[in-house]
Amino acid sequence: MTDGIRNITRTNISRRRALAGLGAGASLVAMPWIARAADDTIRIGFPTPLTGPFAAEAKDQVKSAELAVKQFNDKGGINGRKIELLVRDDKLNGGEAATRTLELIEKDKVHAVVGSLSSAVQLAVNEVTRARGIIYVSISQSDTINEVKDFSKYTFHEALNPHMTAGAVARYSFKKGSKVAHLVADYAYGHEMLRGFKRAQAEIGAETVGEILHPFGAADYSTFMPRLRSMRPDFLCISNFGRDQANSIKQAVDFGLKQQAKIVVPVILHNQRLAVGPEVFEGVVGGANYYWGLESQLPSAKAFNDAYRAANGGAIPTDYGAYGYTGLSSLLMAMQVAGGTDTDKVIAALEVLKYDVAKGPQSYRKCDHQSVQSVLVLESQKKADMKGDADLFKVVANEAASEKVLRGCTELGFPA
């Protein structure tokens, strides 16, 4: 049953197998070798929301992940074994993601799972992978996944988390006595970002003058604007993602909030800046895991950009796209060290891995498997200051990789 379905979904192998069978004149000698060659492939499942409001970011994740796979395959794979990436659309829906992940594990027999692009959906994927004892490298923001109730030894979090991202943006932007108004998407991502900002504000001494939760996926924000204006903030902090970010910033600017307050966001998105244009985003400050402009300072960024450009007709990698590359590269490097796909050996290798493939040194913290890494703070460029179409942001701060910006292991519920 399982094999039947695998043959349908992976026709290239069944065809090869059939041809080989014919060529050998139904000789039984050739068959075991062919069968083992097919089973030797290292399969990585990659659920991501290819359709829906985060589609642009998801597509970039896939391109970057494919690049990492190609680079390892070009070097002869891992211990001679080829790597195959199995991309699935999770439709930005927890239930869908869980079903696809289960299929990847049960039918496609993947050796590990990388992916997802939502703080909520990744928890659904993690639920499945940890129950099945499969390694999962999550590449989108979440604080919850670090905490002991969602953690398992199979769970790795390669992305930044809201605590460190919001913290970096707050430390760069807010001063003692700053007044901050929050507009927040009403789901896990927004709530976690808000918590991150408020915790940093408490340390800095910046005051919260108001919080508005908006429904996820709203197209019109005009009805929130009068109240935000009446709060008279120094900073308008907008914690949402994807097209919600584009629409809410655009409408805040239309309502003249930029004249009144500085707009800051936890994560400033390359694709959304492209979608609404430089005038609207001008001066907006936000955090990022990656920006292609790092290439002037970092050799690893330059190497990643060049490889990406060569593979994608001159296009540059984006922030969430880069997660596909760093997340998959870290897993494949650990598999290389482990000499294969033995789950416990790969976990051990990931826990001690030091890697720098795009954005400077990174490593997984032992207790919660959070990737310790740098956090960038970017400011959207004025149109007149842009040197070329891709010159979107200025790197205004680069918080170096340090466990100090993470929550402590005991706070997350791990034994000291």
Binding site: I212, P226, N247
Partner: protein, 288 residues
């Protein structure tokens, strides 16, 4: 809570309601006259936004986009009526519904292929950027302009339907198409024009929305839901119902945003449920 804020919120609600009226009108007209539930309404709204953007980028002027795109997409709508919907008249109401539902997928995919899946910037025309001081607060000039356009469109529609001979034929055709045929009126020509008008209104809504929201292939799906809610509340096929329901929904959303912002989207559906419980035919609808 101070009065200024409540007044400002009320005004935001009216402005939002005006946009809802515009998106619901086309849907309501087509259903009222032709009995076709147009599920491609949202997709045509989106196609209108792209067409407006395309014309504006060719001519370098937003105004050409605003004028030409609705006519262009309205003509496209007539082609849809002539070749796809016409063969389905006289069959059950589900047939055109399923056809337009499928069509909406084709249109969204088509736009994805031609313009890409990412959003495209649609800048506000320079003459309409900035905010206006209303005395109680500031409001974007562009949104005030949109309210004005909706007012003019509604006025023209009303004059057209109530005061012209063509309007008389359209209204009579909606009541009893067979009698109109007997009287020698080519009713299929009237339906062609009405469908084109409804689609043109959808795409006008799309072009006007462009500078307020980012333009992307999925922008129509939410609009379709909103337009349905408004027409159902107002009463399917009732023009006056769409207008009053659109404004009411806008104001209710805005007031909810003030007191319980996270409920701002769901309140629209709650209102619809309430109206359906009390008055199943909608505020101004007639019982079938």
């Amino acid at each position: 809570m101070d009065t200024e804020l409540i007044l400002m919120q009320l005004f935001s609600g009216v402005a939002l309601g005006a946009i809802l009226v515009l998106t619901a009108l086309g849907l309501s007209i087509i259903f009222g006259m032709l009995g076709v539930v147009n599920f491609a309404h949202g997709a045509l709204f989106m196609v209108g936004a792209y067409a407006g953007l395309w014309v504006a980028s060719l001519t370098g002027s937003f105004w050409w986009g605003l004028l030409v795109a609705p006519v262009m997409i309205g003509l496209f709508g007539m082609l849809i009526e002539y070749f796809l919907i016409r063969p389905l008249y006289g069959r059950s109401i589900d047939d055109p519904l399923l056809l337009t539902f499928g069509l909406s997928y084709v249109l969204v995919e088509g736009v994805r292929i031609v313009f890409g899946t990412d959003g495209i910037p649609f800048p506000t025309p320079p003459a309409l950027t900035g905010v206006l001081d209303l005395g109680v607060g500031f409001f974007p000039i562009y949104r005030i302009f949109v309210v004005g356009v909706v007012f003019v469109v509604v006025l023209l529609l009303w004059l057209g339907l109530e005061k012209t001979r063509f309007g008389l034929i359209v209204r009579a055709g909606a009541r009893d198409p067979t009698m109109m045929r007997v009287l020698g009126v080519d009713i299929s020509k009237v339906w062609l024009l009405v469908f084109g008008l409804g689609v043109g209104l959808a795409s006008l809504g799309g072009v006007l929305s462009g500078p307020m929201r980012s333009v992307n292939p999925e922008m129509g799906s939410l609009v379709l839901a909103e337009a349905f809610v408004v027409t159902v509340i107002g009463g399917l096929g009732s023009l006056l119902g769409s207008i009053i329901a659109g404004l009411a929904v806008g104001i209710v959303i805005s007031m909810t945003a003030l007191f319980a912002p996270e409920m701002a989207t769901i309140v629209m559906f709650a209102l619809m449920a309430l109206v359906l419980l009390v008055r199943p035919q909608g505020l101004f609808g007639k019982l079938a």
